[in-house]
């Protein structure tokens, strides 16, 4: 601080001296700006206006280093077993009143509670960090580039980063993989080079621009407040179809009794109903195809045909096949084939056909 007493006159000039006038930033006055306060007094002595006196002092704005790593969105990222590229998105904000680099480290939880309440029980494969190179907010394989740090992020700068990984095909509905992303404030100034870790100015005030670390504590262990780091977490939750398949049969008629109390004798007609149910809480199963090789002791009833996507009443296998499907499917080389299309969670679809006992 300067204390200087000025007796020098400047006439009517109000010396408004602001060096390094700062742009209006949410993060505030740029580091290194000088705040100069100048005061002027006008007065009279003996009825005569005197030359004005001025006094001033100047202080330099120091560097306040703060970054924010934040998960984009507030819900888990739903993935399916075998998904090669599961993507979760983070936003990195530079709240520093200067340009800095931001180092990035992604990690996986080893058990414990994940970001959205589930229990972490698997790791994704090939965990990687990619920056949204084209700025469209969506991960584009081959366009967005893998990074270990963000280069030269300006004050108030915001970057989108994707943490990606693969989901093993063996994972089942409800499995959770927790991930974390931690940012580390690093010195900027050299493009395409990751700067050194920024540390707070130790000890006494220095003549230059001092550094104050001003971040809040993050979720990663050891990421405390005012350490130049920021972190957040997210998780992948497996959403798989919970499919169950049952095969029901009933006798329609026999050559002796007809349709009245038919018996399972050679020449009798049997109706087979294949029931596919998808449990509640899972994912929709699409392109559900069925192939059913007929027992050698039966002959396919081509006059009845095959019916697909019928409904079912009750709980398989004790419910009733409603026989309300649409004709379709094929019979070839002793195998009945058909499709049920999409089976949504909590629903059941059927495929049915008839055969006779040899």
């Amino acid at each position: 601080m300067t204390k200087n007493i000025k007796l020098l006159a400047t006439g009517s000039c109000l010396a408004l001296a602001v060096f390094g006038a700062s742009p209006a930033l949410a993060v505030g006055t740029a580091s290194g700006s000088t705040i100069t306060n100048t005061v002027t007094v006008n007065f009279q002595v003996g009825g005569v206006s005197q030359t004005a006196s001025t006094g001033s002092n100047a202080i330099t704005v120091d560097r306040r280093v703060a970054i924010r790593v934040q998960e984009t969105g507030t819900v888990t990222t739903s993935v399916v077993p075998g998904q090669a590229t599961a993507v979760t998105t983070f936003t990195i904000t530079n709240d520093t009143n200067a340009t800095i680099d931001i180092g990035l480290t992604a990690a996986q939880l080893a058990g414990g509670t994940a970001a959205h309440g589930g229990t972490d029980n698997f790791d994704v494969t090939g965990l990687g960090v990619f920056v949204d190179s084209n700025g469209n907010g969506t991960y584009d394989a081959g366009t967005d580039t893998a990074v270990t740090y963000l280069d030269e992020v300006v004050a108030d700068g915001v970057r989108t980063v994707f943490v990606i990984g693969g989901v093993p095909g063996t994972r089942v509905n409800g499995d959770v993989a927790g991930v974390t992303l931690q940012g580390q404030a690093r010195e900027g100034g050299a493009a395409a080079t990751q700067g050194t870790v920024i540390t707070a100015t130790a000890g006494a005030n220095t003549a230059g621009v001092d550094t104050v670390l001003f971040d809040t504590a993050g979720v990663v262990a050891g990421d405390v407040a005012n350490d130049g780091r920021s972190s957040d977490d997210d998780d992948f939750t497996v959403s798989a179809a919970i499919l169950n398949v049952f095969k029901q049969s009933r006798i329609i008629s026999d050559p002796v009794n007809g349709t009245t109390n038919p018996k399972m004798i050679p020449g009798a007609t049997i109706e087979y109903c294949i029931v596919v149910s998808n449990g509640s809480g899972g994912a929709s199963a699409t392109s559900v195809n069925i192939s059913d090789p007929l027992p050698a002791q039966t002959t396919y009833d081509s006059t009845y045909g095959i019916f697909q996507s019928g409904t079912y009443t009750g709980t398989a296998p004790s419910g009733t096949c409603n026989l309300d499907g649409t004709a379709g499917g094929t019979f070839s080389a002793g195998t009945v084939s058909g499709t049920l299309g999409t089976v949504n969670p909590g629903t059941t679809r059927t495929l049915y056909f008839r055969a006779t006992i040899n």
């Binding site: 200087n4 306060n37 100048t38 002027t40 007094v41 002595v45 030359t51 704005v61 306040r64």
Partner: protein, 153 residues
Amino acid sequence: MRILILLFLLLSPVSGHAADAVALDSSVFVEREVPAAGGKTKIVLEEPKVVIPGDRLVFILQYRNTGTQSAKDFVVTNPMPAPVAYQGTSDTVAQVSVDGGKTFAPLASLKVRETDGTERAARPEDVTHVRWVLREPIAAGAQGKLSFRGVVR
């Protein structure tokens, strides 16, 4: 923090009444909350060693009549440094300007015209100048202190 000592150029000759002068001293402090006994916090004024955006500053203007006669029509004008937003003063005689020093009045009575033409009550951050008009003459050798608050934008 860098300390700058500003030397103001003499733009016009000093009048013959060099003794009829007023000395001015502008100083600035940072207001900080520090822990105090009993789990409370107290506010202390510190030398502005480390100043970062959001810090609260207190500007103190000290004047002294170093001349041999009393000075009257004493008007102290302080333009707000651009990186500092005005936060008020406890000096009841202080007036402020929101138009670059053209007009002065108490803040509550000032209006600001938005770019879209609408008019709204002036807010502290709109203040461009602070001014004190002292009614009483300042006797030779007398001194006083004026202050206002600001926050680093």
